[in-house]
Amino acid sequence: RHYGGYEYPQQGGFVPPDMMQQQQPYTGQIYQPTQSYTPASAQSFYGSSFEDEPPLLEELGINFDHIWQKTLTVLHPLKVADGSIMNETDLAGPMVFCLAFGATLLLAGKIQFGYVYGISAIGCLGMFCLLNLMSLTGVSFGCVASVLGYCLLPMILLSSFAIVFSLQGMMGIILTAGIIGWCSFSASKIFISALAMEGQQLLVAYPCALLYGVFALISVF
């Protein structure tokens, strides 16, 4: 049996329903799970012996190759996004990016992990409500959190720049504005392609820009 994601049932037979829907094969090549992750032993052998257990990263569903591929998608703002990105809810990558953001802020002398956590939670909730209201098909909270988390990557560049240079001059303002635009453009591009909301990219980009603007405010001040 082929599972689209990496979560395996721990108890016999209990499969969460949303996992079943992810079994459609991906059209984009980079989202094809590589064969090495399909375990040779059947799933029913789970918990039988220590040697039969899969590696920890596989069990947790963290696939560094996938994270890297999705990161590249975000970093090329002009590249057309594939709608199937939203099929896979991967929160490991966003978690790594949030921690990296907090770490770069720490290097600049600002211990603000709490703010990053709070703002990202409230921001994801707000975007989730807004996108559910604006799109014809609904969207799940995990997808929203995943996309917003991946598009936080350029903000890490900004905060690492803030370690060495102060961002409060004119150049800092221009750089901040550029980075906010980059983040919100990527996020809105992915949302638009996944939710089929043509013509509304600006309407989705603006709330993303506000959210990333608050992150930028933490980096700058």
Binding site: N132, P207, V214, F221
Partner: protein, 315 residues
């Protein structure tokens, strides 16, 4: 009744099915605790309670688990039903169905007062634009507070900004809707929210400019012109929808006062620290500290000579 029976004898249990969710959670918790107690060893002390609770001693473990499971399912179903009923945001869906062109057009229109007040002007019942404007105002306030190093003792910067902006939007809208109801104006709550929300566009522009360029006179010009234009627009729309001079006066006077005063409040409450710092630094055109020779005035020279002569004479 054997272990293979599909019917669970609930006779000896408290009948809490259909009651509140908390009771079920508590019961489930109690079940879990009793299971744990049993799992540790012989449940000596808890045996009477168990027996009384379940009515069946031998199958205590299994039965407890089944019942707990069932009650948990029922409780969960009730909670999700209540959630889908009260937290159903789909009723707001039609108010977010907009195109970017429409939003831009409405933003520009919110600064242009209408001339025709003899028949009711159309108000778009849309909530996307106003919501985004309120969030923009929050962001501008935050930026202003950060640049002026405002310290808020009882609370956070973010909480204060969100509380102020949302409080104004929702509170003043509700108050104006109530007044409109009293004055018999033809306006619905969503339209009122929309009107007031778009009126915040003027506030956003004014604060964005004046938080970065610090001149009092510039602020007052913007307050009058930009604030005034958006107020005039809102007032004209309301006047077109109200009949009677007194009612029009009450509604429009209140709205104009609240709108303009809010802009004044935002400017002065969230940015005055900057003015203080600037005054200290620039001062009343003080030149830098210089060393100048003390010039002794001519009078004292004369006094010195006279004194010297007087002393010489006495000697």
């Amino acid at each position: 009744q054997g272990g293979g029976s599909a019917v669970i004898d609930m006779e000896n249990m408290d009948d809490t099915s259909g009651s509140s969710f908390e009771d079920m959670g508590e019961m489930h918790q109690r079940m879990k605790e009793e299971e744990e107690e049993e799992a540790e060893g012989e449940a000596g002390a808890g045996e009477e309670e168990d027996g009384e609770f379940l009515g069946m001693k031998g199958l205590r473990g299994q039965l407890g688990r089944q019942v707990a499971d069932q009650m948990w399912q029922v409780g969960k179903r009730q909670a999700s039903r209540a959630f889908s009923l009260y937290a159903n945001i789909d009723i707001l869906r039609p108010y977010f169905d907009v195109e970017p062109v429409q939003v831009r057009a409405r933003l520009l229109e919110s600064m242009i007062p209408v001339k025709m007040i003899n028949f009711p002007q159309k108000i778009a019942g849309e909530l996307y634009g106003p919501l985004m404007l309120v969030f923009t105002l929050v962001a501008i306030l935050l930026h202003g507070m950060k640049t002026s190093d405002t310290i808020i003792r009882e609370g956070t910067l973010m909480g204060t900004a969100i509380g102020t902006c949302f409080g104004y939007w929702l509170g003043v809208s509700s108050f104006m809707y109530f007044l409109a109801y009293l004055c018999n104006a033809q306006i619905t709550m969503v339209q009122m929210l929309s009107l007031l929300g778009y009126g915040l566009f003027g506030h956003c522009i004014t604060l964005f400019v004046t938080y970065n360029i610090h001149f009092h006179s510039l602020f007052y010009i913007f307050w009058l012109v930009v604030g005034g234009l958006s107020t005039l627009r809102m007032v004209a729309v309301l006047v077109s929808r109200t009949v009677g001079h007194t009612q029009r006066l009450i509604l429009c006077g209140t709205l104009a006062a609240l709108h303009m005063l809010f802009l004044l409040y935002l400017h002065f409450a969230y940015h005055k620290v900057v003015e203080g710092i600037l005054d200290t630094l620039e001062g009343p055109n003080m030149p830098p500290f210089q060393r100048v020779a003390r010039d002794i005035p001519v009078v004292s020279n004369a006094v010195l000579n006279t004194t010297a002569k007087a002393i010489a004479l006495t000697l």
